[in-house]
Symmetry: C2
Subunit: 190 residues, 2 copies
């Protein structure tokens, strides 16, 4: 009985890998189930056996990222001050985005993916919890802009082709340093 | 003889406006010439009369942004120090991105648009000149990360739906302040 399950798991991973390559090259909107099947050298029916829609594939591709964000939140939400919650969450997000460098390049900034994530209850709740720890209670406009700018800056930089020659360790070191300094000078403690 | 030209100019603007709306909602990949025609209530042939491909429309949509970047560069490239060139260019870019808020939300971060802009000689040259003034001569990795992070941060924040309630003037004031502080603490003068 073990073999079909193993094969199925393997096929699932292969579909997700192929999908991620295609999403990165063409965006989610520009990728079809047929393209995924063609890349794997299988029929569209074989892909349907694993996933019932492209949306389901896109959600499965980002699942490990959301699992890690949830894990980070379970740690940071217990911290005693808003500043500690914010700075530990932001540092954790820097590490997490670099760890998921390939996936984050696809799911960040794509309007189709954004809509998909927003309409998924589980992911939206995690996104809301992340916003809560990063923004803190009753954030003013300046704090909101700072967190938005910093989040976009980290995501965008990690996915910038001009920075692709930097290895993950060096990029992480520099980004963690900049993130800390930015919070210090732009988001005063409450 | 004046009327056909005026009509043509009017139709051109209408196509660009409709295209921008659709690009914003579906991405460039997810938008077809047929969708643009449908939105305008005209035939695809009527759109073809103005533009020969979707790429041509996308390039025309971003043209005013590149015209403004070129104008900014003509000013900043004459400044005497690398620090002045960098900080004036970055402040100018903040203003420019806010001025072109709608267009920048479409052309930033979309892999299709990125490819299109990279393969257009005129736009690529302007992009290279902008990178030169922002990075300065022989930038180290830290400076490269800082400029990438700051550029992505400003673009991403301006297009962040969570920030959409801030008016342009307030957003610009806060972003100019953060940009200045970030450069001060993260990009030491050479």
């Amino acid at each position: 009985m073990a073999k079909p399950v193993a094969t199925r798991g393997f096929a699932r991973e292969r579909v997700l890998d192929a999908a991620l390559d295609l999403f990165a090259a063409h965006g989610v909107s520009g990728t079809s189930l047929q393209m995924i099947a063609d890349r794997l050298g299988v029929t569209k029916a074989a892909v349907y056996y694993q996933f019932h829609s492209k949306d389901e594939i896109a959600l499965a591709v980002v699942k490990p990222v959301y699992d890690d964000i949830e894990h980070l939140l379970r740690i940071t939400e217990t911290l005693p001050t808003a500043e500690a919650r914010r700075s530990v969450s932001m540092s954790g997000m820097v590490e997490l985005i670099i760890r998921h460098r390939r996936v984050s390049s696809v799911f960040y900034g794509d309007p189709t993916v954004h809509h998909l994530l927003e309409t998924n209850d589980e992911y939206r709740r995690i996104g809301d919890r992340l916003a809560d720890v990063l923004l803190g209670p009753a954030p003013d406009n300046s704090t909101r802009v700072a967190i938005s700018m910093l989040s976009a800056g980290v995501h965008g930089c990690v996915n910038d082709p001009m920075i692709a020659d930097l290895d993950d360790a060096e990029l992480q070191k520099i980004l963690l340093d900049f993130t800390k300094r930015f919070l210090e000078v732009c988001v005063p403690a409450q």
